[in-house]
């Protein structure tokens, strides 16, 4: 174990550690552009220069491995002078686009210019002009002038995705990054190059001019796009979701997330969201207060339960429910509407890919299976749903966030079948085709508006936190189910999602903790 002196402290590191890694571990602010913990070290930005005693010149911290007895200084006058010089070179051809650059506010060039730059330019000549606003892929825009040629994006495409779309072109101060003719940057993980770009050279086309980053409020959450459950930051401004960013979790997603998850939030901002509960009166859906709509659903369910038994009632759920919602579905279906059927729908597409994306496009299939069905809930296979609707053995459906008319696995499902039901209760963010024929439609909260937990395909339970309020009278599923349970005179009442989390933890501690522990 090599021991060395870092800014006066003697520290011991594992063999092979570089000076930069040791410094970052100790929260020493050594500036760096090209170094990224997940990519190979190239040492081309030169901003991380530090002074090593007995070395004739300054060394770059990112690629200098710690040796026993080294004496390193990260803030000596020689180092500061060198940083100022490096910053001056980097800024020579920089266009100073900050007012129109989406990176402004989270730009390392801005930060280091303030911390380590000289503040004035001595450059008298014309700046080199390069192409701006180059479309290099469906999600990424390149500004060649802003690029500092750190090659993080090139290494990402070589080492992480293995697709090799980006490379360096031309020589000297005209060097640019770019894509090859006819080979745009369209791999599934292209959005990550925007995140790792330390400057504003690569920017997101979806986030373009949507907000300035200093207006954004970041909430830690979990991506609902697939069973991986990538950790994300939900960035919101003015009660609108501006973007999703990966949140570092080495156990789940590392530093990355896929473009499907990254851009899967647009429906949340839609102006067409359902804002108020609707109840069918004289054959038209009319707005109604929440409690009235819930009471009406409960009365209908109780009547059918008493007349025809629990077998006539069906719950349509999927892996999109949180554990808390699934737990309540399980409790109501087994404790109150005893014997009611639970139909868990699939949302599968394609195959698992090598990096993150899973075939199962729901975040909580494991949790839903376990909590809905594990406590004595009666399952019905989706294939049997249509036939039992047709032959009249199912008389009431409670649909949680699904549009039955848009599910390819439900062959033969029509509006007429659904319209023939005695009771159809739909809880959804939008007024879907299923909602249009329903008796009660309740506005739902989206994944950025709920508290809860998801269990990913590995069994890891991870928390989701509301980043904003639901529009209108939208309510999370657990709130709807809690109110419904109360109206059905069930033996429980919950005021927050966290209460349900605790309750289900107490009911099944080994399941709540999951194999991987709460993330």
């Amino acid at each position: 174990m090599p021991k060395f002196h870092l800014d006066g402290d003697e520290i011991e590191v594992s063999p092979g550690t570089t000076i930069l890694q040791a410094a970052l571990e100790r929260n020493l602010a050594v500036p760096h552009y090209c170094y990224h913990p997940k990519l190979t070290i190239v040492g081309n930005c030169r901003i991380c220069l530090v002074e090593v005693e007995k070395a004739p010149k300054l060394m770059i911290a990112c690629s200098t491995v710690v040796n026993d007895g080294m004496v390193v200084r990260t803030g000596s006058p020689r180092v500061l002078e060198a940083r100022r010089g490096v910053m001056e070179f980097l800024l020579i051809n920089h266009p100073l686009d900050c007012p129109i650059c989406d990176q402004a506010g989270e730009c390392l060039l801005q930060e280091y210019a303030v911390l380590h730059g000289s503040g004035v330019s001595r450059f008298q000549e014309e700046k080199v002009k390069k192409n701006k606003r180059v479309v290099i892929g469906p999600h990424v825009l390149l500004d060649e002038e802003r690029c500092i040629l750190c090659t993080r994006c090139i290494r990402f495409c070589q080492e992480i995705t293995g697709t090799h779309e980006i490379d360096l072109f031309d020589r000297g101060d005209r060097t640019t990054i770019g894509t090859f003719p006819g080979r745009p940057l369209e791999n599934l993980y292209s959005g990550n190059v925007v995140d790792i770009c330390p400057v504003g050279a690569l920017t997101s086309r979806e986030f373009r001019f949507r907000s300035r980053v200093w207006f954004l409020k970041s909430t830690p959450s979990v991506c609902p796009g697939c069973a991986r459950g990538c950790n994300i930051w939900v960035d919101t401004a003015d009660e609108q979701v501006a973007r999703l960013r990966p949140r570092v979790n080495e156990e789940v997603n590392g530093h990355w997330m896929c473009d499907i998850g990254r851009n899967g939030f647009e429906s949340v901002n839609s102006p067409d969201r359902l804002l108020t509960p609707l109840v069918r009166r004289e054959d038209t859906l009319t707005p109604s207060p929440w409690l009235e709509a819930v009471k009406r659903s409960a009365a209908g369910l109780l009547r059918i339960f008493q007349e025809q038994g629990g077998e006539a009632i069906g719950w349509i759920v999927s892996g999109r429910l949180t554990n808390e919602e699934a737990f309540l579905v399980g409790r109501i279906s087994s404790e109150v509407l005893d014997g009611s059927r639970i139909i868990v729908l699939d949302h599968c597409e394609g195959e698992d890919d090598a990096l993150l994306l899973r075939r199962d496009r729901t975040p909580n299939r494991r949790g839903v299976n376990d909590l809905c069905l594990g406590n004595g809930g009666q399952q019905m296979k989706p294939a049997a749903l249509v036939s039992s609707l047709k032959d009249g053995s199912l008389r009431a459906l409670i649909v949680l966030g699904e549009d039955l008319l848009e599910m390819p696995q439900l062959e033969g499902m029509t509006r007429a079948i659904l319209a023939g039901l005695d009771l159809l209760v739909v809880h959804d963010q939008f007024l879907t085709g299923t909602g249009e024929v329903a008796h009660v439609v309740l506005p739902a909260a989206s994944f950025v508006e709920i508290d809860g937990t998801y269990r990913n395909f590995e069994g890891r339970v991870q928390a989701v936190r509301a980043a904003k309020r639901a529009p209108g009278a939208g309510q999370a599923g657990w709130m709807f189910l809690s109110l419904l349970g109360k109206a059905l005179e069930a033996d429980f009442s919950y005021a927050t999602s966290q209460e349900i989390t605790r309750a289900l933890g107490a009911a099944a501690p080994e399941r709540a903790a999951g194999e991987g522990g709460a993330g």
Partner: protein
């Protein structure tokens, strides 16, 4: 209960007379001095160059809106009077512009932070201080009105001019 004796004013009451003379003499002196009262609104006062009136947007000498919707004024505005929505200019190297730019003059406190923070020198406080309207909506100024009030302020540094003049650099390379 405490009984307090009222002070006897008989002698001291006499001293008011000297204050009266003093005050009256000041009044008389001012009668013969030049008058400073303005007959507003017929007469208008003159303000210093740095007077901070209502904010407005300006164009440069080529008629280009200088604002690029960087949101710094919206960020810095203490009463949050400014609301901007950014849009993209497809054919111009400037790339970004303010699709919507409104200043709620009912909220504006004319502090001048917006002018100070603007990196494009696009927003200025003018000398106007008269703000009247029949509705509240009238006093929320939209971009067109702000540009009309602001008029033209020539730029000394023409950062965009060489770019605007060169059509090959207008839209960016597409692949």
């Amino acid at each position: 209960m405490i009984f307090v004796r009222r002070p006897d004013p008989r002698f001291r009451a006499w001293t008011y007379f000297w204050a009266l003379v003093k005050g009256m003499s000041l009044t008389l002196r001012h009668i013969f001095r030049p008058k400073v009262t303005l007959q507003y609104p017929e007469q208008r006062g003159e303000f210093s160059e740095g007077y901070r009136g209502l904010p407005s947007l300006v164009r440069d000498q080529h008629g280009r809106e200088k604002c690029v919707a960087c949101y710094l004024c919206q960020w810095v505005c203490p009463p949050r009077a400014i609301t901007i929505t950014a849009g993209e200019l497809q054919e111009s190297p400037v790339e970004k512009f303010a699709e919507k730019f409104q200043i709620n003059m009912l909220r504006c406190i004319m502090c001048g932070y917006c002018e100070e923070v603007c990196p494009e020198q696009a927003i200025f406080l003018n000398q106007d201080y008269e703000l009247t309207g029949l509705t509240r909506a009238e006093l929320i100024f939209q971009k067109e009105k702000l540009l009309e009030i602001g008029g033209v302020r020539p730029d000394t540094i023409q950062k965009w001019k060489p770019l605007l003049a060169d059509p090959s650099r207008s839209g960016g390379r597409k692949q």
